[in-house]
């Protein structure tokens, strides 16, 4: 049901921008869609598996940077290499044109996408194994450390463009006639691609949390030792959720990079990771729809520049205020619950379960 409402809202927003004659808003809404992928993935990890991650911008950047690098790095000098020759026959490598019209040999976006996701999964497994054994401050610091390492590496590595990042990244042709890129002519198409992905992601995640896995996750969250004693393999579930949420973040990174045509080190910065955590917190930890709706509002306002130079301060303030007064999230704060109770007295007591 919420998915249907959400779908209608997506169409309504597009129509509104047409009637309000603000087609340029589509760009920010599209970018918001890709950031929403990170947010719903992180919401699953934080809210349902109870694990904080201050390093999700790292996974976003891993996805974006790998895809950007593979689709722009010219392999022409090595084209006689046996492996590369075989790859270009299978279509994994394609010819592309650079800015100056010169030919170059690069990875096909699909090949780059799959490589980025596979590498993300590998890194998330390697990092997640030991990291998820930690709790509380230790987990927060370890994930923060991971995020910082990714940030410092992209900032200090020449072939990732150092402080400038990578640019001139080609569009991502998903299917013929369906391309993720920032060209104004296909703005509406890109809006629907982005939000189509978010809808797919939400369908996957809501099904997941209402399945056996979801119940196991909730048991981990409320009482990990008890869950363990009941035979729930808590370590395995936590790791799988961590990897899944990392994949969501990396997908957001890949698509947004192709959409923007570039990626810079700021996408990997700690502040970005903190921002994702802030949005999940304000939406309500274990509340996918809440996190998604807050993410849409805040990301859109931030991308449109409504917060000006107070952008980061706004997210810091959100973190403090929410954690002080409504640790369950804005949508579950006592004030809002009180209002809900008044309007539907019968359902009020059960609303915490939603």
């Amino acid at each position: 049901m919420p998915v249907v409402v959400f779908g209608i809202a997506i169409i309504a927003v597009q129509l509104l921008t047409v009637f309000a004659d603000r087609p340029q808003f589509m760009t920010q809404f599209t970018m918001t869609g890709y950031y929403s992928l990170v947010i719903i993935g992180l919401c699953l990890l934080m809210g349902y598996a109870g694990q904080i991650s201050l390093g999700h911008a790292g996974f976003f950047a891993i996805g974006g940077y790998i895809s950007a690098f593979l689709t722009t790095h010219d392999l022409t000098p090595y084209k006689d290499n046996i492996v590369l020759a075989a790859l270009s026959k299978t279509g994994i490598l394609t010819a592309a044109q650079d800015l100056y019209g010169g030919g170059s040999l690069v990875f096909h976006p699909w090949a780059a996408f799959i490589t980025a996701i596979v590498i993300t999964i590998a890194i998330a497994y390697v990092i997640g194994g030991p990291v998820l054994k930690l709790k509380g401050h230790y987990l927060a610091m370890a994930t923060l450390g991971f995020g910082t390492i990714v940030y410092k590496l992209v900032l200090g590595t020449g072939f990732f463009g150092a402080a400038d990042g990578l640019s001139d990244i080609p569009g991502f042709r998903i299917l013929p006639g369906l391309e993720v890129s920032g060209k104004t002519g296909i703005r509406v198409q890109n809006y629907y691609i982005a939000w189509g992905l978010v809808v797919l992601g939400m369908l996957l995640l809501t099904n997941l949390i209402h399945s056996r896995v979801g119940r196991a996750l909730r048991s981990i969250h409320s009482a990990e030792d008890a869950a363990n004693a009941m035979g729930v393999n808590t370590t395995r579930y936590k790791l799988q959720i961590f990897v899944l949420s990392a994949v969501f973040a990396a997908m957001g990174g890949v698509f947004l990079t192709h959409y923007n045509g570039g990626i810079g080190p700021s996408e990997a910065s700690i502040m970005k990771s903190v921002r994702y955590v802030a949005i999940v917190a304000i939406g309500g930890m274990a509340n996918l729809w809440g996190a998604l709706s807050m993410g849409i509002i805040l990301n859109f306002l931030s991308l449109r520049g409504y917060f000006g130079s107070y952008d980061d301060a706004i997210f810091g303030a959100i973190l403090i205020v929410i954690m002080l007064f409504a640790p369950e999230g804005l949508l579950r704060s006592e004030v809002l619950q009180g209002i809900k109770m008044r309007f539907s007295p019968g359902k009020g007591s059960g609303s915490k379960e939603a």
Binding site: P130, G136, I149, G316, L324
Partner: protein, 296 residues
């Protein structure tokens, strides 16, 4: 590598290591009193340096430093009173997010007050080119200030915790909050005091190191991560071990520059943090049995 270069790296390592150790001690004081890791600890260091630089334009250096330390202590107290004091039994996750929020807030406030510019206090004695040499090793007098002030801080803290009534009350609170309260010690005041103390120590460290490392609105985050690494390396809550761990990390970091580009210097220390967390979260000097009792 010749002896001269070796000792030069060593001096640099000791200087930075001492700074990390002081930040780690700030973490430890609050951790011992509350079980909270204050993610805004690095911001205290930045605030101390920034305020002192601003005040130095209107008053002599020692007065500026004193005023900066006092101002930061007041900020530390305010943070505790406004954000921490009235929370009953908050979850660790909640505390982490609140202190991260506070650190962002202080950083952004600093950005709007002081801008993005890099600032520094003048050298306490001599200038930046003044050196005195022991054999072939050249040492800036400011390095002696850093190590000297750190040593005094540690000695005074030890004295404070071991021999003064207030220090003992704080230790009693961290050892057993309920029992301490039964003895008439106000646990809440002790927590406030721990914030004041760690803010003051951080600010003093910020003043002393600013001629060498400079301060900028966002220099707190990096210091906080290094300080936390050192605190973990030494065993969370153990301030004497933090000094040894700080020197160790500083020296490792300093020598890493000879092996890889200096842009990756931070990566080395964070990798050490991750390895320690994975392999031995109780720290190299802590006992695994004792830390099993703690919540982590």
């Amino acid at each position: 590598m010749n002896i001269e270069l070796l000792s030069q790296y060593l001096v640099a390592g000791i200087t930075y290591g001492t700074i990390y150790a002081i930040v780690a001690i700030g973490f430890n004081i609050i951790y011992n009193a509350t079980g909270i890791i204050n993610f805004a600890q690095g911001e205290f260091v930045m605030l101390g340096g920034m305020i002192a630089v601003s005040l130095h334009t209107i008053m002599p250096l020692p007065a500026a430093i004193l005023a900066a330390v006092l101002a930061t202590m007041i900020i530390g107290a305010l943070i505790e009173v406004i954000f921490i004091r009235w929370l009953d039994n908050p979850s660790v996750l909640r505390m982490i997010i609140i202190t991260i929020g506070i650190s962002i807030f202080i950083r952004e406030a600093a950005l709007h007050i002081w801008g993005e510019g890099v600032r520094a206090l003048p050298y306490f004695t001599g200038t930046e080119v003044t050196v005195f040499s022991i054999g072939d090793v050249h040492i800036s007098p400011q390095v002696l200030w850093v190590t000297g002030v750190s040593a005094v801080i540690v000695l005074l803290l030890n004295f404070f915790f071991d021999y003064t009534l207030l220090g003992r009350q704080m230790r009693a609170c961290s050892a057993n909050r309920d029992a301490a309260q039964l003895c008439g010690i106000s646990a809440k005041n002790m927590v406030t005091l721990s914030f004041i103390l760690s803010a003051g120590i951080g600010a003093l460290a910020g003043c002393v190191v600013s001629p060498i490392t400079y301060v900028q609105y966002d220099s707190g985050t990096g210091l906080a991560i290094k300080g936390f690494t050192v605190a973990i390396l030494g065993g969370l809550g153990n301030s004497t071990a933090a000094i040894a761990a700080g020197l160790l990390l500083g020296i490792i970091e300093s020598f890493s520059v000879s092996l890889m580009p200096s842009a990756f210097k931070d990566v080395v220390s964070i990798t050490i943090l991750l390895l320690i967390l994975f392999v031995r979260p109780s720290g190299i000097f802590g006992s695994a049995e004792a830390s099993r009792l703690k919540e982590f």
